[in-house]
Each structure stands twice: as C-alpha cells, then as structure tokens.
Point group: C2
C-alpha cells in the first residue's frame, strides 16, 4: 500500500437543523496517516446511508454526541484491513464499524464492530453487511420476532414497507405465516413491495383513498404494526389495532424535527380499549444475539426466501446529498455508497 | 321479605354525549318481581360510581353495548341474596356483580360475579368489595405488578394519585420499594396523596410550575408511569421517561370525548429514543387471578400498609349527578352510594 495516496473524506461543514443536505458537508483530501500501536488501517469498500444520520449531526439530544463541525461524517462502513498493529486483526480481514464517510480509516481496533464471518457472507455481496446482514437485518429480525412476536395468521402492517428494514420485516413476517401489508410512498415503491418483496397487500399512503384501502387490506384488523415513519400513516393503522396488538416504533422519518414533538391524535384511548402495546426498539439492545440473526438471514437469502434490493451510489462525491435523498424517498432499496474504484469494478 | 316494597331504580332517560349529568337519568319506583327458576333476588347495599360509566351510556363503540334508553343504569354493586331459585346460591350470601343502580335486583344467577369470601372481607366494610377489594384494587395490583413490573429503587409516577386506583397503585409501589410520585388536581387531593397515601412526592397539575416540580420530584427520571388521565399530565411525564420505562394506560379521564381523538404531542420519537413501552390495560384480562390479589390486598389493609378512603353518598337519589362529580374531581376517595337505609345505619 502506498501512503502517498490521498484519503478522500466527507466532513461536516455546517450543523444542520433537520435533514442534512449537500451544503452541510465538504469534500477534503488529506494524506493517510500511519497506524500507531493498537491501530489498523482499513480501506473502505462501502459506506452506508441511513435515516438515523440526521440525528447524528443535529444538535438535539439523541443517542450520542453529535458529529463535530469539521469532523468526518459518522457512518457505518465495511472495508478490508490493509495494515494492522493489533494482534487480533490481520491484513485482509473484512470488517465493519463506524469508520465514517472516507476512503481510508486509520483507527483504534476497538472501533471495529466485527469481522465478517466467511461462512455467513460467503459469496453474497460484501455490501449486504451494511444492510440485510447488518443493522437493517437485525433491526427487522429482533423488532419483529422479539418485540412484536407475530403469530401465524395474524396481520402485520409495515410502514416504509419497500425500505431496507421494512422489506425485510415483511418477508420475515411472511415466513412466520402472517398476512403482510406494506405501506409506501408512490407507485414505484408500492409495486416493489408487492412484486419483489411479496407483501400480500401493498398500499400507497399518498393515494386519496389510502384509509379505505388500508381497511380493505386488513379485513381482520391489525395485530402487528412495524412503524418506520410515524405521522398520518401511523394514525390510520393505530385506529385499526386489534385487541392485544403490538406496535414496534422503529423509525420516525415522517418528521424531521421532533423538538418540540409534532401534534397528532392521542393514542391513549385506543390503547386502553384494545390493550395494545406500543414499544420503542433499537437493534443494539439485542447485540449479544446478532450472530444468530445473521446466520438465519443469510440462509434465507440463499434460499431465495428473502429478496434484497440495494441502491448503490457511485463514489463518495455522491455522499453529501445522499441523506436528503433518503428523506425524499429517492432510493429504491438499501442505500450504500461504493467507495473504492477497485471495488466498483468487482461489484 | 315483603314484595309489596317498591324497588327504586335509576334509569337512563336521554343518551348523553360525553359525561352523563343528572338530567340524563330519572328515578322510577316499580314493584319487585318474583325470581324465576335459576334466578335470585339481591337486596343491594352499595352501588359503585366509576369513570368508566361514561362509556357505558355513550353511543361510541366501547367494550360493550351501551345501556338502552329506559334501562336501569349499569353499575357494579354489592348486596345480600334474599331469595334464591338457583342451587349454587343461598339467602344471606353477600355477592357482587353488575346489578345496576337500584335497590333490588332480580337476576339470573349468571349475573353474579362472586360471593364475598368471609375470610377476606372479614370485618372490613362490605363496600370495599366495590373498590380496593374489587375492580379498583385488582386494577392497581395487576396493572402495576404485571404490566409495569417496577423494580425496587425505581420511580413510579401515578396520575390521579389520590383516586381509588391511583392511591392503591402508589401504596403498592411503595411496598415494592419504589419512589412514588402522585399527580392530582387541587391542594386537597395533593395533600391527601402525601398525608394519607404516603406518596414520596405529591404534585398539583394545576399549579403554574407543575412541570418544574415534576422534574424536581423525579431527579432520576421516570421508570413507571401509571396513567389514569391522559392529557397534559401525561405529556409532561412522557417527556421524562427513562430507558425501558413502562407506561400503563389505565384511564383517560382528562378527555370526555375521544371521537375523534384529541390532539397531543406525538410520543413516537420519545418511545424510540428511550425504548419505552406504552400498554393499555384493563383488569378483566387478569380475572382468573383476582382471588390472589384480594387476599394480599386484604392482608395489607389489615396490616395498615394500604390506607383506604371512601366517598360514600347517601341513597340512590344522589346517583344521577354522581358521575359528573367524578369528572369534576369532587370526590375524595372511592365513590360509592349507600343504597339501603338498613345498611346506612350499620355503616
């Protein structure tokens, strides 16, 4: 490896209010540092683009400290170790972690989340480790099976049903013997949810008769609602909950600003009458069991029971505008950015 | 028993929208019927006045069919069987059930909920079977211990903390080793929650600095919120939930009309960030275990660990205006109506 290469980075230039757009970032090239003791150098292959990244740059209190101004944008990434000064890791290892939007990461080994298990990733695209065999997959798996706990024959409704989490939730619910209903925005995603991801019913929340169609699509009511959006979609579904229904709050992309929280119809009475449960969920609470989910998900992908769609952007130059595109719903499938030209040829 | 007595009944005259008031009912006297085969005659001692009765007379869909116009007002009651034509029941048995707002009930034996167990009720007031040794007690017991599952040292906030359910919840949470915070309306109830029911902190939601006081009363945040009200009280508590907090939705008296639901701040984001759970709860879902709760509650009452306060109205003539009074917050303690002059002397 030649360290005369420059490392292309995407840094936070201005702190956004709400959704970050291209103007909040800047592209910078700088020499690649040498790894110190306990560090590794990772050549990044793919970085992830996720709705949660909005929260990572906003000033509002969230899960963690926000990315500092001038800092490399935080993001999930997968890459190959090119040089290691830590005994646990070796050049050639494929690893994931919060390596950021950059071509090269020189990091303490503790920043690495995991080494990709060759028996799991096998010949599947390495980028799946950022989606269905990464956080999206374990979010779908544990949110559905552990929090929502659907029973065969029950009706499972998923908002953002064509999205990277929602499409997996729908397919897992189908495997569990449920009736599955996707809600998406626009005719393309609605078709995608039905045709590729196999939802039993697929609804466009922008259609003027959405509520009537939801009613038709759930003739026995709603037993599980996997919510990636909040907003008017959620209001329509909550009104149709069955007794002892489970609502998993997994995402809130319908609103970009939650301070103060937007107003909506209160759900307390409906929860009381139905004795339904609404529960917030993030996958890291099940981190000790992620390996179990990766094995099962990889098996179902190979068996063709879980279809995967990726939206691969080409090069870090596309990164600054990639988050706002997610919130506009531009992407079809899990959005990742291919970082190395080397890898772009392979993919 | 002389059947030449007239039976005083309170019947529904006009279907109310929202909270029923005195003008929606009428007092009627009619001869007492003879019990047919499989029936019993019950001389009613006390009838109950509960917030849920609003829902029993409104047209909106609820747990059950509404009371018909001209029908005796549905209510929980306790009385003594004076005549039985069913082999399971005997004259002298003290029984509870939905006997209605009347002095005498001639009913199918299937209408009886239970015979009061002398080893439980003992020398405690028979009216307790409509409150702390009835639905209020099992609501507090199972809502807190089974749904909310507080741990010692956690903070439990209760809205309507001086009410018949809330006061029991607070005392049970104290027995479970929790820090307890009552929220009530007005200085009298606030004092009652602190002085009689032993809450560690007692707040008046009508005070202008309520939110600041709530913050002070919950220095470690809120682990359990037992919600009897909904509304702005709930909004203030939800904003202070800890990670993995549990919210039990048990009542919604802050609003009298839920069609359509009133607007409030959406809670989805807060639930996601805290991974908190909000669950509707009604005690009948645990009916198979009520006996267990009655025994423990009666023991704790006798030991002085649970204090009970009743608001006893005198005679069915007070019944028509008794529900609106609940919603105004007139009552201090569980509201019941003493029905028989015979019993009024005893009590």
């Amino acid at each position: 490896m030649s360290h005369s290469l420059l490392n292309l980075q995407v840094r936070l230039k201005v702190r956004p209010v709400g959704v970050p757009t291209a103007e909040h970032f800047e592209l910078v090239r700088e020499p690649i540092a040498e790894p110190g003791p306990g560090q590794v150098t990772v050549q990044i292959l793919f970085v992830s683009v996720d709705p949660a990244m909005r929260g990572w740059v906003n000033a509002a209190a969230n899960y963690a400290e926000p990315v500092p101004i001038g800092g490399v944008m935080k993001s999930f990434a997968v890459g190959r170790i090119t040089e290691s000064r830590h005994p646990r890791w070796r050049a050639g290892d494929l690893v994931t972690g919060l390596f950021g939007w950059q071509q090269w990461a020189v990091i303490d080994a503790s920043v690495i989340d995991r080494r990709l298990d060759p028996s799991i990733i096998g010949d599947l695209p390495v980028s799946y480790s950022l989606g269905v065999l990464g956080l999206n997959g374990v979010t779908a798996y544990f949110g559905l099976f552990e929090v929502a706990q659907p029973k065969p024959g029950q009706t499972v409704v998923v908002s953002s049903g064509a999205g990277s989490v929602g499409s997996c939730v729908g397919q897992l619910a189908k495997i569990a013997g449920c009736r599955t209903v996707a809600i998406s925005g626009g005719p393309e995603k609605t078709r995608l949810a039905a045709d590729l991801f196999g939802f039993d019913a697929s609804l466009d929340y922008r259609s003027p008769d959405f509520v009537a169609r939801l009613e038709q699509a759930c003739p026995k009511g709603v037993d599980v609602y996997f919510d990636n959006t909040s907003g008017s979609i959620t209001d329509a579904v909550i009104a149709r909950l069955n007794v002892r229904a489970r609502v998993v709050i997994c995402g809130t992309v319908a609103y970009t600003d939650w301070s103060p929280p937007p107003l909506g119809p209160r759900m307390e009475r409906q929860l009381l009458v139905t004795r339904a449960r609404v529960e917030g969920f993030i996958a890291p609470d099940f981190q000790h069991r992620w390996g179990e989910a990766y094995s099962i998900l990889a098996q179902w992908i190979r068996e063709g029971r879980i279809k995967v769609l990726e939206d691969v952007l080409d090069g870090l130059e596309t990164a600054p505008g990639s988050i706002e595109g997610l919130y506009r719903g531009d992407n079809m499938g899990k959005r990742v950015i291919s970082v190395t030209s080397e890898h772009r040829k392979d993919h």
